[in-house]
Symmetry: C2
Subunit: 73 residues, 2 copies
């Protein structure tokens, strides 16, 4: 079973990336990550580290907490 | 230089752990992690993964976003 936090992060990442009109590739470039890595994070396949979560948050120009905020908050 | 997200997570973890009266060891036991691992996360030495962040959040009975919320929010 996939982690809830992974699934939440994946969903928020995809939402925020798309809301900014970024492709996976352009987000990956901004974050200094590989396109296939971003894809696997969006599929909740990766046990992403806090350093890479921060790179992604910076590329999206959001606080890292925004990427873990669930709908019920 | 240490990551801001690591430093923030470390600070929030320590604050929440102490506010609950847990030692590093008792938190580690609750989270299924090793005491020395929790210590190194609190010193922002570890590039902690989202799965372990979730275990720590569950042990503290908070949403994972609580562990990344900065004071300015």
């Amino acid at each position: 079973m996939l982690s809830n936090a992974r699934t939440l992060f994946a969903k928020r990442l995809k939402e925020l990336r798309q809301s900014r009109g970024f492709s996976q590739e352009s987000l990956a470039d901004r974050a200094g990550l590989h396109r296939t890595y971003v894809g696997s994070v969006e599929r909740a396949e990766r046990n992403v580290s806090i350093d890479n979560m921060e790179r992604i948050a910076q590329a999206l120009e959001v606080d890292i907490a925004e990427l873990l905020r669930s709908d019920r908050e």
